[in-house]
């Protein structure tokens, strides 16, 4: 309420002031929150409800309790896909973040000391920043198709190159699960690394110069500077990136569906999609719910493990 209309008796009452403050906030957030509830929260809850039914796309959805979850527990195909997804969840973030950090560090402080500055990027770093980000701009479907050709056994870029040097390249997507997983990891990392280069560059850019100068005076080399100065100071960004990349890895759907033939390997979202395709909507949503729980658990674990005291600078 505007001050003019506020009755005199409550004007200086602390409880009223608190109420007024919250009313102000809620007033501003009402519309976005309503949207969020309608388009994000409610589908989630509906999916959870459907996961307890035998809905098959028809007009009837019977409540079946935990039947879908029981079926999942006994379904070898689900466990196979989950094994692949878990491997991605563990390896992909580490691989991508390490690469992203290395590139970002090189761009911001890997160069020679020019113009009397404590740190500088390698030559051409402003160009690299842009180039690394290219894969982010491409549509996932295009990435999957193009890389599918690159990995082609007979006429692909990789095996073609290996032929030139007299090495008989393997069948990357020819049925061997390990090779398939390696191919998938390469593509995922390649397509996401640019995002993390930008994220970490921004984080490193906000680290004050004088800390670097001090490190330089103390005789720290590049690696030492990175581990003792840069990494601790950008830890928050790393943790955020780790969670985000983990969720992305769990969510690898389009790349796997388009690029990897289904008999080589499947990630859980592809398995889920196939169940939808066969009209098993109830079962498919229950797999979705398990994925949701997994993402949550993963985020919580990383939050716990990655929890360090914040360094104020």
């Amino acid at each position: 309420m505007p001050p003019r209309f506020t009755p005199e008796r409550v004007r200086y009452d602390r409880r009223y002031r608190t109420l007024d403050k919250y009313r102000f906030i809620v007033g501003f957030l009402a519309v976005p929150l309503a949207f969020y509830a309608l388009f994000v929260i409610s589908p989630f809850l509906q999916a959870i409800y459907y996961s307890f039914t035998d809905w098959s796309g028809g007009p009837v959805a019977n409540f079946v309790g935990f039947d879908n979850y029981q079926k999942m527990w006994n379904d070898d195909r689900f466990w196979d896909s989950l094994r692949v997804s878990t491997l991605l969840l563990v390896i992909a973030p580490v691989l991508t973040l390490v690469l992203g950090m290395f590139f970002a560090y090189m761009i911001t402080s890997g160069g020679r000391h020019r113009r009397g500055r404590a740190i500088a990027g390698v030559a051409g770093s402003s160009l690299y920043k842009v180039v690394y980000f290219f894969p982010q701009v491409l549509s996932v479907a295009i990435i999957a198709v193009v890389w599918g050709r690159v990995f082609n056994t007979n006429s692909g870029l990789i095996n073609g190159g290996l032929d030139k040097i007299g090495v008989d390249g393997p069948a990357w997507l020819g049925g061997d699960e390990t090779l398939g997983l390696i191919s998938l990891l390469i593509v995922i990392s390649w397509s996401f690394v640019g995002f993390y280069v930008v994220l970490f560059s921004a984080a490193m850019g906000s680290v004050p110069q004088d800390i670097y100068e001090a490190a330089l005076l103390d005789g720290a080399g590049r690696a030492r500077t990175f581990f003792s100065v840069t990494l601790p100071l950008i830890w928050d960004a790393v943790r955020t990136g780790w969670i985000y990349m983990g969720i992305q890895a769990l969510d690898t759907f389009a790349i796997c569906l388009v690029m990897v033939p289904p008999h080589v390997l499947k990630v859980t979202p592809v398995f889920l999609y196939e169940r939808f395709r066969d009209g098993q909507y109830g079962y498919a949503t229950s797999i979705g719910v398990v994925l949701l729980v997994l993402s949550m658990v993963f985020s919580l674990i990383v939050m716990r493990v990655g929890n360090r005291d914040r360094i104020e600078y």
Binding site: D20, K21, L33, Y36, A37, D54, A171, P261, H263, Q280
Partner: protein
């Protein structure tokens, strides 16, 4: 600080908290899957001699066609026929590559906008589920109706018998109608086989191995395998199961019987192929999603292999790489020995390109009428001219000049007579073929597993489907 001063950081923090706690009204949950359920207000007109299905002449008609290898021009021909007969109806044809995405949501809600649907392609709707949910109309009415060209003959009498059989789901009722015949088998170049290798088409497995040996001496492979799509091997194996053990073997597979994949006939066929694989007669290295075209190019353009497992669409699909004098031909699967239960020439030749009419279509009779027109002689001939495949209408392409592959496919069907075999589980339990057989046969073709594990894997998959409450089972009648 003013009375309502809140600093920015606090707003953000609170917003996040509020977002997590914002729970929508439970009312949102009641918007359930249970759509529809209202009376079927299908448009109906007067039945007459000229209008045997009782089409309401001015009711609109919407046709959804899968726009894939066949395109949709062949269907536009029929839609134009409809427009000519019912000018007030203004039929509308919608080509799409994503049939399920376009059609299924409305169909599920019981308010389909489509009156007839070409349910085909990678994004086809699961027909078994549609039948189970009573979302597709019975089509016997079309088959019983007088045919377009001759009112004294029913539509059924103008078609090859497998059309009705393939529309059945364990009962007499027919829910889908196919329009083209696909012939599966061993495709080869007659020129290469007869002139290059100086051989006849092998009618027995021993002869097949002999041809492969000859080919190997010439530095080419007898067989090829599209590793990106392992399931292609089924096209050259399936008829052999029936040939070896009789129809009982394949019926047992269709009805998921507990020993369907464990009998001697299946074992013999797998062992025959195992020998072929072990002798390294198979050309491999076609991986990834374009495997089939890579294989077909190696076969047609480069002449690297004699036989490919394929279906009759291959002639059209590979026409850009096929030399003029290639003489593409399809051969039926070889017999194993004189102990076979069915003769050489037994053919895996189903009808394809299924059409359905939604049960609650607004102009259901119009949809049925459209199908009756599709089965007219002129539409069947036009289908052949557009896409080059064999129509299911008897005699529709008599007297036409056929390309080599189509001619051999037609000859193979005529030679087979009644010995046409069709895997019903292909429609009923598609995952058994598309996933389980596909994954198993890849290991098999790579030599990682033998006949015994192949049989075990398939039986286990068959049992899993039998036990799965989410999959509607078709009971033996």
């Amino acid at each position: 600080m003013g009375s309502t001063s809140v600093n920015r950081r606090e707003v953000m923090k609170r917003a996040a908290a509020a977002g997590l706690l914002a729970v929508p009204a439970v009312g949102a949950l009641s918007s359930c899957a249970s759509g529809g359920g209202d009376e079927n207000k299908a448009e109906k007109g007067e039945k007459s001699k000229k209008n045997p299905l009782g089409v309401k002449t001015d009711a609109g008609l919407t046709v959804y066609i899968f726009n894939g290898g066949y395109g949709d021009k062949y269907a536009q021909f029929v839609t134009d026929m409809y427009a000519k007969k019912y000018p007030k109806a203004k039929p509308d044809q919608k080509p799409t590559e994503k049939i399920a995405t376009q059609v299924q949501p409305k169909l599920v809600r019981g308010k389909p906008t489509a009156d007839v649907v070409n349910n085909s392609g990678a994004d086809e709707m699961n027909i078994g589920k549609l039948v189970h949910n009573k979302q597709v109309a019975e089509l016997v009415e079309v088959l019983d109706a007088p045919s377009w060209d001759d009112p004294n003959v029913t539509v059924r009498e103008t078609l090859v018998p497998i059309v009705e059989e393939m529309g059945r789901f364990g009962g007499k009722a027919c829910y889908q109608l196919n329009i083209a015949l696909t012939v599966y088998g061993n495709w080869y170049s007659k020129k290469l086989l007869e002139q290059g290798l100086d051989s006849e088409y092998p009618k027995t497995w021993d002869a097949m191995l002999a041809v492969c040996k000859k080919a190997k001496a010439k530095g080419i492979h007898g067989w090829s395998y599209p590793g990106g799509h392992p399931r292609y091997m089924f096209f050259s194996m399936y008829a052999m199961f029936a040939q070896r053990g009789g129809r009982d073997v394949i019926t047992a597979m269709d009805y998921l019987e507990p020993t369907a994949w464990k009998n001697d006939a299946v074992k013999d066929v797998f062992e025959a192929w195992e020998e072929l694989v072990a002798k390294k007669y198979v050309l491999t290295g076609f991986d990834g999603t374009e495997a089939h075209t890579e294989m077909q190019t190696a076969w047609t353009k480069e002449g690297k292999c004699v036989f490919v497992p394929d279906g009759s669409w291959v002639e059209n699909e590979a026409k850009d790489t096929t030399p003029k004098d290639f003489q593409m031909t399809v051969g039926a699967t070889p017999s194993l020995d004189s102990g076979d239960k069915m003769p050489f020439g037994t053919l895996y030749a189903p009808a394809g390109e299924p059409f359905i009419v939604p049960a609650k279509a607004e102009n259901r009779q119009g949809g049925l009428e459209w199908l009756r027109m599709m089965y007219s002689k002129e539409a069947a001939l036009n289908l052949f001219k557009e896409v080059g495949s064999l129509p299911v209408v008897k005699g529709a392409i008599d007297g036409q000049k056929l390309p080599s592959g189509t001619a051999s496919a037609k000859a193979a069907i005529e030679a087979a007579g009644d010995n046409i075999v069709i895997p019903k589980f292909f429609d009923w339990y598609n995952e058994l073929f598309r996933e389980d057989f596909n994954n198993m046969i890849h290991k098999f073709m790579q030599g990682q597993i033998g006949a015994k594990q192949a049989m075990d894997t398939m039986q286990k998959a068959s049992d899993r489907i039998l036990k799965d409450p989410d999959i509607t089972k078709i009971k033996k009648v």
